[in-house]
Structure formats: structure tokens, C-alpha cells
Subunit: 126 residues, 2 copies
DNA sequence: TTAACATATCACGATATCATGATATGACAA
DNA sequence: TTGTCATATCATGATATCGTGATATGTTAA
């Protein structure tokens, strides 16, 4: 049992016992993934895309920059809902805005956002 | 007020009143976004990425295909947790698997998954 | 058979997230 | 300085999601 650890190619490839599962494979992949903090940050980031209201806002802003009341009207949502979701989008660096008098004109932070949205849409449409 | 509806270029571009917000803009973007059902499906899809355990699994599988117990060990997570998350990933068409005797070897469904994961990671790392 | 192992499902209490009503802020016009 | 409009924040109850213990299923070897 102990000997097997040092084999680069494990001949008994179907074996997967609790204290000796494919160790070489496990060690190899473990080194190549991000750390705990990065996974936490990344999941917070993706969580933002997991809400239809926020996706709708992202979808609109991928077409053109808009003020809050235009977003409300285009989506037929009340102002509180939109404003709350915009706050979350802002806090997570997904949208930015520019004040223009009374108005606030929102836009997507960068192209990553649009790419993620579009690849996701492509995926669900097969 | 009523006349303004038909202007292609609205001269008073800063106006944004409740019943007459930039109508041309609103109408234009409203037509170009997905429908309610697609937003619902897309948000369910992205929700999957919004959990660190699932992201870790996706991250591992973007390196190579793995069986359940290797995932458990590489991530130091108990079997129930991994198996439950794999079920969710399967149900959402994010991973697939192949039975090999007692084992189940998991892999990512397609390249969209890897792309979304990697663009997201790029985004948070600036 | 029986045992051991790999994996899956069920049930549950703790926690997080949602949309929204009430209310606040801040800009402009009268 | 008062009113109105655009937007933001706060508080809340309903709902969803999380990780996990207990348990079930299915495969292989003895």
C-alpha cells in the first residue's frame, strides 16, 4: 500500500480508497486552484448574476447607458427595486454611474461583465 | 407634451418625467432584451456559480476530470457536501459524469462553463 | 450471502436574499 | 424657501439556500 505513493503511473487506476485515493492526481490539481479568499470573492461576484432583476439591468446596459427612471420603465419595475439592485451592482463593481444634474446615468464597468452575460445566454440557448 | 413622442431626437435630453421619460430610448432597448423566461433560466444558471464550494469543483474540473472522492480530498470537504453540490451542478447542466465501476468520473459540460469561470476570475483579479 | 466502498438522497436548522413600503437626500425651478 | 422630481437608504417579513447528519443505493470482492 505505502509503496504505491511513489508510482507516477498508478496501475490500479480504478482504486479509490479513503486514505489512498489517486494521490498523484489530487496533489497535482490541489496546487493549481485559487485560494479560499479568491473563491469567496469570485462567488460573491457571480452571485450578482443570479437574480433576474439584476440580469435585466445588465442586459439593458449592455445595449446602452441609461438613467434609473429609464431602467424602471423599460423593465416595468418600481424605483425602489431598481435602485436597490443598482446599489448591489455598484458595490460589486459591475456597474458605474455618472451624475448629470438630477439624473444618474449608469453603464457597465467593463467588457468582462458583458462577456459573462453573453456567454451565459449562449449557453442556455444551446 | 404629447407632440414630443414623435421626435426622433429629443432636444430636452435631461428631462426624465414619470410619464414621459426618454421614450424613444426606452422603446428601443426594451425590444432588444430576452424575455421573462430566458432571464429566469439565465439567473438560475448563474446562481450555480454563486457558491464557493461549487466554484471550487468547477475550478478542479477545468483542470482535469475527477471522481467524487478525489474532489472531496482535493478540497478537504465531506462526501455529502460534494455529492449534493454535484447534484445541483448536474441538474443545471454544468457538469456531466460517466460511471466507471463503483466510481463516477465528473467533467465540465462544455467550454462555456470554463470561459465564464475564467473571465470571472480575471475580473476579480483586475 | 455478507462486507466494504463510492456515491446519492432526504430532512433540517441556521443563514442569506428578495421585493417592497416608508422615508431621506439632493438638485432644480418657481 | 417651497415644491417637485430623480434617486438612495432603511427596515421587514416571506422565501431560498447552505452544509451536514442520517440513511439509502449500487458495485465489487470475499
Amino acid at each position: 500500500m505505502e509503496m504505491k505513493k511513489n508510482n507516477l503511473e498508478n496501475e490500479n487506476d480504478d482504486m479509490c480508497e479513503v486514505f489512498n485515493s489517486h494521490e498523484d492526481v489530487v496533489d497535482r490539481v490541489r496546487e493549481r486552484i485559487p485560494d479560499e479568499a479568491e473563491f469567496a470573492e469570485l462567488s460573491e461576484f457571480f452571485k450578482i448574476f443570479g437574480n433576474p432583476t439584476r440580469l435585466k439591468i445588465i442586459s439593458l446596459l449592455s445595449i446602452e447607458d441609461l438613467c434609473v427612471c429609464d431602467i424602471c420603465e423599460a423593465l416595468d419595475l418600481n424605483q425602489t427595486t431598481v435602485s436597490n439592485q443598482l446599489r448591489i451592482l455598484r458595490a460589486n463593481n459591475i456597474v458605474k454611474y455618472q451624475k448629470e444634474g438630477k439624473m444618474a446615468r449608469y453603464s457597465l464597468t467593463d467588457l468582462h461583465i458583458e462577456m459573462i452575460y453573453k456567454v451565459g445566454l449562449e449557453h442556455i440557448l444551446e
